[in-house]
């Protein structure tokens, strides 16, 4: 596994929970014994959105799909879904790159598919 398929998260050394956004104390137990981990970008799809109209300036290429992924390592993260067909709830996915051709990411693909 190389760094291109890992995601940096915060990790509580007391309760063991992990999460992505940085906090000053553990959101689950309040401990300040926090560290950072690079964890495997493997997990399951929790939810998703297909974006058909970009509201950015300049607009992003559409359509694209953003997935919420619950990593096996414990943190919930967002990413791009690489496959053409829509994701399914609970579908196993794996991170294939930090960014796609459009510079957005991390990019996830169905686990076991090409490149994942």
């Amino acid at each position: 596994m190389d760094d291109a398929t890992k995601i940096r998260v915060q990790h509580c050394r007391d309760c063991g929970r992990r999460w992505q956004t940085t906090f000053a104390g553990c959101p689950y137990c309040g401990s300040t014994a926090l560290t950072e981990d690079d964890v495997a970008g493997k997990g399951r799809v929790y939810s998703w959105v297909e974006v058909h109209r970009s509201l950015e300036d300049p607009p992003a290429d559409v359509p694209y799909t953003v997935v919420t992924v619950d990593l096996d390592a414990g943190a919930r993260v967002f990413g791009r879904y690489a496959a053409g067909a829509g994701p399914k709830a609970g579908e196993p996915v794996a991170m294939v790159s930090a960014t796609g051709e459009d510079g957005r990411g991390p990019v996830f693909a169905p686990a076991g598919s090409d490149g994942a």
């Binding site: 999460w19 992505q20 956004t21 940085t22 906090f23 959101p27 689950y28 929790y46 939810s47 998703w48 959105v49 297909e50 974006v51 058909h52 109209r53 970009s54 509201l55 950015e56 300036d57 992003a60 694209y64 953003v66 919420t68 943190a75 919930r76 993260v77 967002f78 990413g79 791009r80 709830a89 960014t99 957005r104 990411g105 991390p106």
Partner: protein, 388 residues
Amino acid sequence: MTRPREPATAIVGVGYTEFSNDSGRSVLELATEASRAALADAGLVPSDIDGVATYSMGDSVPAQAVATSLDIEDIGYLLDLSLGGQSPCYLVALADAAIRAGLARTVVIYRALNGRSGVRIGRARANDVPDSVDHRYAAGLTAYPQNIAMWARRYMIETGATEDDLGAVVLSQRWYAERNERAILRKPITFEQYLASPMIASPFRVADCTREVDGACAVVMTSIDHARALRHPPVVVRGGAFASGPRPGREIGDILLWDDYSRNCMHYVGRRIWENSGVTPDEVDVAELYDCFSSAVLFALEGLGFVGRGEAGAFIRDGQTAVDGKLPVNTHGGLLAEGYIHGMNSVNEAVLQLRGDAGERTVKGAEVALVSSGTLMDGSAVVLSKDS
């Protein structure tokens, strides 16, 4: 939380500006006009008030600016919440507390924005907390419709809800908007037309998203004793609640620590509002539920306990949110169709309903109204009623 207390305050006036696509006026002018209109509706003048409160997402003017424009001499309460759609009912509850505590006697609450010609919420980025927003934007989750759609999709996964249920919200509210001269979307809509509405961020079509407008609205609150001497029957504040679930995150769009996207703040507001008000859901005659997106109405109906889990869509499709249904909902057309005055207009509408001043869309015999605010991690609600 505290047990319900004897009601102490009432809403005595409501005010509006025109809702338009391009007001051509400053936000301060809009805010001041709506506040003056609310005072006039109450039969009061600016020297009668000593408090002004508002909320803004960086798109409005502070309470002090309106207090100055109104030439209020004796100021005891100025409050600016830098919060979004969770604010309006929270501000009513806070003004109730401030009046009870003797901080203020009579308070104006307003929301003003050039939401169409100026800063548009649909395109706005959330608060810039780099740590928090960077990973969200990196993935392309850059605007509110996309963020809320993530919740709506999970709700659909868990409950089996479909676009039929989202569309039912849109159709139900449009009926009211047709009968509301202020509403910005007054044309009827069929389900086929709903389905033809362009997809923005699935499952949301344009028709599922709030209609941004320029405008302002305001209410005036005072003690019940004072209210009873004024020109309209008082609309009594029976109770209010603000609540957040655990781990609301770094900022308004930081949803990664929220465990269950199929339940939002209303699940937690629902645990407090009935206890705080001493009212039960069955006693509510009309509900104005925060609806920046159609799904928010489904979440609120279930979170507040009006219907069971996964039942909101069927409840609406069965006509129960229509004007002659069990619980008329968003009788102004909601933020979807009356326009996005960020939920403040939902407070105003509840007041009109309880005064019987909502014309053809008036819910006959309505005695008790619930208003809710917010559809992310934190939110608020108030119960209002006729004076007993």
